[in-house]
Amino acid sequence: MTSDVIAQFKNVVKEYHTKNGTTIALNGVNLDISRNEFICVVGPSGCGKSTMLNMLAGLFPPTSGQVLFEGKEVEGTSIERGVVFQQYALFPWLTVRKNIEFGLKQIRVIDSNGKKKGLDKKEIDTTVDKYLNLVQLEDFANSYPKQLSGGMKQRVAIARAYAVNPQILLLDEPFGALDAQTRTQLQSELIKTWEQEKKTCLFITHDIDEAVILASRIVIMSARPGRIKDIVNVDIPHPRDQSTKMTEEYQKIKNYVWGQVYEEYLEVRK
């Protein structure tokens, strides 16, 4: 294992037991995620792409195989692995500022006397301000989630995930519930943020355009039981923006990925 690899899936199988029998969601997935990579996972619904993300987040374990993070098997959640959910998952009783603070308040550091303590209020405030600024929501710091649009809510969720400075960011169809305009806007913002911080990202989506514009590598999943069908390198140079979509390279990759995914859609329909 090279030190460059941050997370690994090794022969991962995940089965769900329901009343109607056993469903195999993932069947033998192998994937290495390198530091500073932006990986997008695409595939038909039910191919287990969210399952992969949840296992790396530590929300549940694989049935067999291993999910490794920094060389160690994932056991439970950790602030090293931040998650952005499709349904925003903001705490509705907390203001935007308090939502972003939530994770920071859980952090315990060891002070000079060897005692555990929380972060200074000042430190928390500075960090929150920084990320409020990043997602351009300074004016809404004291608003409640119900007062925000879907796009703004997801920006808060992204800021909240970034604020605890995780090693990897796991995004589970974060823009899936947004309208097309807001979606492209948030994509552009996410590209910019990634270009600045190069934070490792695992991004689940079913939108191929979204995958090509964001990713450095695209993982194409096969229909259930989910396996990795193909991995495509997206060599389009950064900085990227929406005009990147006009380039020939982009179109070529998009057509290829689309063809691969379409085969799987047909498979599902059978």
Partner: protein
């Protein structure tokens, strides 16, 4: 239905104007009924009821009865509230305990609290305790079930979100489960208070020196329908005031909600 839009656009009464109009119409209808020969037997006229209210206010008997009842409601309700909170949270949080205890509560909640009165009287006598116990039982069951529903229905994504942000079980409980259930806690208070009022009369029938229930019960024996009606009205007004207080509390603690949870 083509003019339904027009109707909505028409002159809209303010909240207070509407309430006042509603009250005036109600009193008017009441007065009409009291004028009719058969209605008049049951319904004393608004003026008579006002008269007997003044009288009993002057003699102090209304206030004595009112405080006796209010004290029982408040004590019974508060005790029930304090007990139902931990019980509901334990039920919602620990699956095993829930599987054992939930059927008991589901069974008990269908039984009208009045039917416990003989048991309560034997156990607690005819004193103050027995009334409070009956009110307590009524409130406790309603509130436990309602809060428990809230705890059970906490959005699991929120718990996951807290977990990936590094929260431990204790933090998830205090910072996520409790606030997420707060709308249900408020609804539980509202339902509990109305159970308390409903059960009050029955509780006071176990024998009491004072109370709104006693006042209504004893006046009916002398066929003083004016006093019976006055008692009913006072209980109704008390109910409205208590609900209003809960609503004010709701505005303070659960204003973040998209929609206010309404009781069924």
């Amino acid at each position: 239905m083509s003019n339904s839009f027009k109707k909505k656009k028409g002159h809209v009464l303010s909240k207070w104007q509407g309430a006042l109009l509603s009250l005036v119409i109600a009193v008017f209808l009441w007065w009409l009924i009291s004028l009719s020969p058969s209605g008049g037997k049951v319904f004393a006229s608004p003026m008579e009821v006002m008269g007997s209210m003044m009288e009993s206010l002057k003699s102090g008997s209304l206030l004595q009865n009112f405080w006796a009842s209010l004290k029982r409601i408040i004590i019974g309700f508060l005790l029930a509230f304090i007990c139902s909170l931990p019980v509901a949270f334990i039920l919602g949080w620990y699956k095993t305990i829930c599987t054992i205890v939930e059927p008991w509560i589901q069974f008990l909640k269908n039984i009208p609290p009045i039917s416990y009165i003989p048991l309560v009287v034997v156990a607690a006598g005819v004193g103050e305790e027995s009334k409070i116990v009956v009110i307590f039982i009524a409130c406790f069951l309603t509130m436990t079930i309602t809060i428990f529903q809230g705890v059970k229905n906490v959005d699991s994504t929120l718990i996951k979100a807290a977990r990936v942000l590094g929260a431990n079980d204790f933090t998830i409980f205090t910072r996520v489960v409790v606030p997420a259930s707060s709308p249900f806690i408020i609804t539980a208070m509202r339902l509990g208070l109305s159970s308390a009022l409903t059960t009050l009369i029955a509780a006071e029938m176990t024998g009491a020196a004072r109370g709104m229930g006693v006042m209504i019960q004893s006046s009916s024996q002398y066929f003083r329908m004016d006093i019976v009606l006055m008692g009913i009205l006072v209980i109704g007004v008390l109910g409205l005031i208590l609900q209003k207080l809960v609503r004010m509390l709701e505005k303070r603690v659960a204003d973040w909600q998209d929609t206010i949870v309404e009781e069924g």
